[in-house]
Amino acid sequence: MAEPASQRQDHDDTATDDFADADTVLELDGVTKAYGTETAVTDVSLDVQDGELLTLLGPSGCGKTTTLRMLAGLERPTEGSIELGGKTVAGPETFVAAEDRGVGIIFQDFALFPHLSVEENVAFGLSDWDDDATSERVAEMLDLVDMPDMGDRSVDQLSGGQQQRVAVARSLAPEPDILLLDEPFSNLDVRLRVEMREEVRRILKEAGVTAVSVTHDQEEALSISDRVAVLNDGRIEQVGDPEGVFEHPESRFVASFLGQAAFLSARVGSDTVDTAIGSYDRTLLKGLTDGYQGAMVDVLVRPDDLRAVPATSDSGNGTIVKRQYTGPSFIYHVELDNGDVVRCLHNHAEDMGVGEPVTVDLVSDHSLAWYPTE
C-alpha cells in the first residue's frame, strides 16, 4: 500500500484535478475484512470526493464486492474505519446499519420489488416524506431516468435497460449521500451495456451524486469513472484517473490486467535500452534511474505500440504464431527471436499468415512503463 501511494505522486498528477477542491464525502482508513482465517479485504484506504464516480476494478474474488458491502453497511469491517459525510459509520466502536446510513445501492440484478409498480418501487425509500412531496419526487426521478409516464407499469413488463433505470431512480430518490453500484451492467447484453454506461453516467452527473461502483470489466471502469482503484487479492494496487492507470500501470498486475499487455525483456545500457526488436534511447522508459544500468527489465508493450511487417527469415526478428481476428482489426501474436511473445495490432486489410517471418517495430509515441525482471 505505502509504495504505490507514494509512487502515484511521481507521475499521476492529473488524478484528482477535477475534484481537488471538492469535499471528501467518503473516507476508508485501513479497512480490513476477515472471515475466519480468510482475509477478503486487507488494509484498504481510499478517499472519495463530492460528486466523484470512483470504480473499484479487479478480477473476481479480489474483494471489491466485499468492500462495497462494507460501505453499504451490509458487512462490518474487522478492522479500520469508514467515514461517510464526516461521520464515522463503521469503526472499532461504531457500526451504523444499512438502513440508517443514507447510502443508495444499485444491485447487479437490480433487485426491484416484483410485487410493486415502478412508481411504488421508486417511492419505497420515501416513506418519511408526505404524499405530495413523494409523488413530486417520484415524477422528478422518472424524468431524470427518462421514463416519464411509466410509473404504473409492473416491473416485470420492463426491459433490462428500463429495469436498470428504475433501479437508479429508486436508489437516488431518497437523496443518498453516496450511491453504490454493484456490477451494474453485467446483466445487460453487450449493446445495451454500452448504451446504459453512458446513460447511467449522465444520470449520476446530472444528479450530482457521489458514487462508488464495482466491476471486473476494465472497459466499463475506464469509460465511466472519474477515478479507478484497481484491486487484487484484497489490496489496492493503484488508484488514479483512467488514462493514468492505463498508460502507467504501477505494478505488473495492473499492467497485465488492463489491455492485452506483453512484456519485452530489455537490458539497460549506459545510453540505450537493448531489446529483441532493437535498441532505443533510455528516455523511452519512464522514470528510469541510473541505478538500473546493466540490469534486465521488462518493458510493457500493448498491441498498438507495435507493428509487424513481412520479412525474410534472415532479416526478420520474429515469427507469427497466432492471429486473432476481431472484425475491424487483426492482433498478431509474434514470437521474437529471444522467445518473448508480443502482440501487434493491424487493420483488417493487412493479412499475414501464421508461420510467416516478420520484423516487429516499436511505433509508440509515448514513454513506456517497465518493471525490474523478477
Partner: protein, 554 residues
C-alpha cells in the same frame, strides 16, 4: 474461484449469526416450535424405557410381534416394487414415447392420489369382496366364488394402485428435467437406444425414482386404513387395536410404535444413500431428444394405461356413484354436523400450522448454521411418524399420571393437570394434526422464502427499513401465495387424516372420516357415499394446490 466460493460460504455463515436480536429471537421461536412438535416422540421413548429393557425385549420377541414386523416389511416391500413396476413405465410412456393422448394419460396417471387409500380399499372390498358388486354381477353367470380380496394381496394391490403416482410423478419430473442431448451424445458414441437408456438415462433418473419410492414406502408403512380394512396384521393396525384393548401387556402400543419408527428410519436411511448421493436429478436446460416410436407396441401400452385407470379411478368412483344412486334412504342419513366438524378442526390445524411454520421456514431458509438444520429436520418429524403413533404418544401424554414428575422437578402437578385436561378435546386433536402436517406448511413456506432474492431485503434496508420492516413490506407480500398454499395443504390433508382422528376425537365428535369409518363398521355403505365423495373432492383440491404451487415456484 475456489477461494471466493469459500469466502461466500463463510460470509453466508457469518450473516446467519450476525443479524442480531431479530435473528436471535427468530432462532429461539423456531427452536421452541421444533421442541413442541417433537414432544410426542420424546414421550414415546420415555414411556417405552420406563418399562425396562427386559420387559420390552420380551414384547418384541414374542411370536405375534415378530409376525407383525414381518408382515409390515413384506407389505412395504411388495408395495415399493409394485409402485416402481407401475409408476416408472407410465412415466416413460408419457414422457418419452409417442403414446396417443399423452396429456390425458399424464393427468389420469396422477389422479389416483386424490382417492384416500382407505376409501380405495373400502370400495375395492365392496366391488371385489365376497357378496360384493362383482360377485353379484358374476353370480348369474354361474361363478360361485371369486378370489377373496382380504389379506396381503388385497392390501398390497390397494396400496400400489393408490400410491404409485408418487413414483410416477417424481420419475416424470426427473425425465422432464433430463437433458435429451445426453442420449444423443451417447448414441453418436455408438450406443443403441437401449444401451443409451441403461447407461445414461437410468443413472440420471434414479434419484427421482428413489424419491418417489420413498414416499410410497413411507405411505405403505404408515397407512392404517388399508391394512385394517383388508384385515392384514401390520404395525399400524396392531397399534390401534392394542391401544383400544384392555388385555394387552403394558407398554405394548409404545413398543410397537418404536419398532415401526425404527423401520421408518431404515427406509429414510436407505433413501438418502440412493437418492442423496447425486445431484444429477437437477439437470436444467432440458432439451428433449426425439420421442421413441412405439409402433405396434402402442396397443399393449394403451391397454396397460387403461387397466391402471379403470382400477384406480373407475372402480372407486363407480362404486361411490353406485351407492349414491342405489343407496336410497341411507344416503340421506348423513349428518352435516360431521362435515362442519371436519371443517372446523381442519381450519384450526391450518391456521396453527402456518403460524408455527413461518418462524421455522424463515429461520431455516436464511441461516445455514447447524442449529437451523437441526430445527428444520425436527419439524419434519411428523412427516415420518404415522398418525397412529402420534395418537398413541398423545394419549399417553395426556393420561399418564407420573410422566411429567420425571422431568419437571417443580410445578409438575399443575402442568400435569393442564395436560390431562386436554385429553380427547378438540385442541389436542388439532395439535396432533399440526404435528403431523407441519412439514407441509414448512416446506411450502420455506421454498417461497428461498424464492425471494436476499438482495431485495438488502435493497429495502438500504432504503431505510429495519429488518422487521423489510420482512413486512417486502418478504411477506412475496411469500403470501406460498403461505396460503401451505395452509391449504394442511387444511386438505387434515380433512383426510384417519387414525389420529379416530384415536383423539372427543367422545361423540363426528367428522367426515370418522363417520365413514362408523358406517362401514355398521355395513351401511350407502350412507358413506356423500362423505366419501366429499373427501375425494377435497383431495382433488389439494392436488390442484400442489400443482399451482409448483407452477408458481417454477
Amino acid at each position: 474461484m475456489a477461494t471466493s466460493d469459500r469466502l461466500d460460504r463463510l460470509r453466508n455463515d457469518g450473516t446467519g449469526d450476525d443479524d442480531g436480536a431479530a435473528g436471535f429471537s427468530l432462532a429461539v421461536t423456531a427452536g421452541a416450535v421444533a421442541a413442541v412438535v417433537s414432544l410426542p416422540i420424546i414421550v414415546l421413548v420415555v414411556q417405552a424405557t420406563d418399562y425396562g429393557l427386559g420387559h420390552l425385549l420380551g414384547l418384541v420377541t414374542q411370536p405375534s410381534s415378530v409376525q407383525v414386523a414381518v408382515n409390515s416389511v413384506v407389505l412395504t416391500g411388495i408395495v415399493t416394487v409394485g409402485c416402481v413396476a407401475v409408476g416408472v413405465p407410465l412415466a416413460v410412456l408419457t414422457v418419452q414415447t409417442d403414446l396417443p393422448f399423452r396429456r390425458f394419460w399424464t393427468v389420469v396417471g396422477a389422479l389416483p392420489l386424490v382417492v384416500p387409500s382407505y376409501i380405495g380399499a373400502f370400495t375395492f372390498i365392496a366391488a371385489f369382496g365376497p357378496r360384493g358388486e362383482l360377485a353379484d354381477l358374476l353370480a348369474p353367470l354361474g361363478v360361485e366364488r371369486i378370489p377373496a380380496i382380504y389379506g396381503l394381496h388385497g392390501a398390497a394391490l390397494t396400496l400400489v394402485l393408490f400410491t404409485y403416482p408418487y413414483v410416477f410423478l417424481t420419475t416424470r419430473a426427473a425425465l422432464l428435467s433430463f437433458d435429451g442431448t445426453l442420449v444423443e451424445a451417447a448414441r453418436t458414441l455408438n450406443h443403441s437406444r437401449w444401451e443409451a437408456f441403461k447407461r445414461v438415462t437410468v443413472p440420471q433418473i434414479l434419484p427421482g425414482v428413489a424419491a418417489g419410492t420413498l414416499l410410497s414406502s413411507l405411505y405403505a408403512l404408515s397407512d392404517f386404513g388399508t391394512p385394517s380394512l383388508m384385515r392384514y396384521e401390520v404395525f399400524t393396525q396392531q397399534i390401534y387395536v392394542a391401544q383400544r384393548s384392555l388385555g394387552v401387556p403394558e407398554g405394548y402400543p409404545a413398543m410397537l410404535s418404536l419398532q415401526l419408527l425404527a423401520i421408518v428410519a431404515v427406509v429414510l436411511a436407505l433413501e438418502s444413500r440412493v437418492g442423496g448421493s447425486t445431484s444429477a436429478y437437477i439437470s436444467r436446460g432440458a432439451s428433449r431428444a426425439n420421442r421413441v416410436e412405439l409402433g405396434v407396441w402402442k396397443w399393449p401400452a394403451l391397454a396397460f394405461c387403461s387397466l391402471v385407470a379403470v382400477l384406480c379411478l373407475g372402480v372407486p368412483l363407480g362404486v361411490l356413484v353406485w351407492w349414491l344412486v342405489r343407496g336410497g334412504e341411507a344416503v340421506f342419513e348423513f349428518d352435516p354436523t360431521a362435515a362442519w366438524n371436519s371443517l372446523r378442526v381442519a381450519v384450526g390445524a391450518a391456521v396453527v400450522a402456518t403460524l408455527l411454520a413461518l418462524p421455522v421456514a424463515g429461520y431455516s431458509a436464511r441461516s445455514t448454521s447447524v442449529t437451523s438444520t437441526v430445527v428444520d429436520r425436527l419439524t419434519y418429524v411428523g412427516y415420518a411418524v404415522p398418525g397412529v403413533v402420534i395418537g398413541v404418544a398423545l394419549i399417553y401424554l395426556t393420561t399418564s399420571v407420573d410422566l411429567l414428575t420425571w422431568w419437571l422437578p417443580v410445578g409438575a402437578d399443575a402442568v400435569t393437570g393442564v395436560v390431562q385436561s386436554v385429553y380427547k378435546t378438540v385442541p389436542l386433536l388439532v395439535f396432533a394434526y399440526v404435528v403431523r402436517f407441519l412439514p407441509q406448511a414448512v416446506g411450502t413456506v420455506r421454498s417461497s422464502v428461498l424464492q425471494v432474492d436476499p438482495k431485495l431485503t438488502e435493497a429495502a434496508r438500504s432504503l431505510g427499513r429495519s429488518s422487521t420492516g423489510a420482512f413486512r413490506e417486502v418478504t411477506l407480500p412475496l411469500i403470501a401465495p406460498g403461505v396460503a398454499a401451505g395452509a391449504a395443504l394442511v387444511f386438505l390433508t387434515t380433512m383426510k387424516e384417519l387414525p389420529a382422528t379416530l384415536m383423539l376425537s372427543p367422545i361423540g365428535f363426528e367428522t367426515l372420516v370418522s363417520y365413514i369409518w362408523l358406517v362401514r363398521g355398521a355395513g351401511s355403505y350407502g350412507a358413506a357415499a356423500i362423505p366419501a365423495l366429499v373427501l375425494v373432492g377435497v383431495s382433488a383440491l389439494s392436488m390442484v394446490v400442489i400443482l399451482a404451487q409448483e407452477r408458481y415456484n417454477g
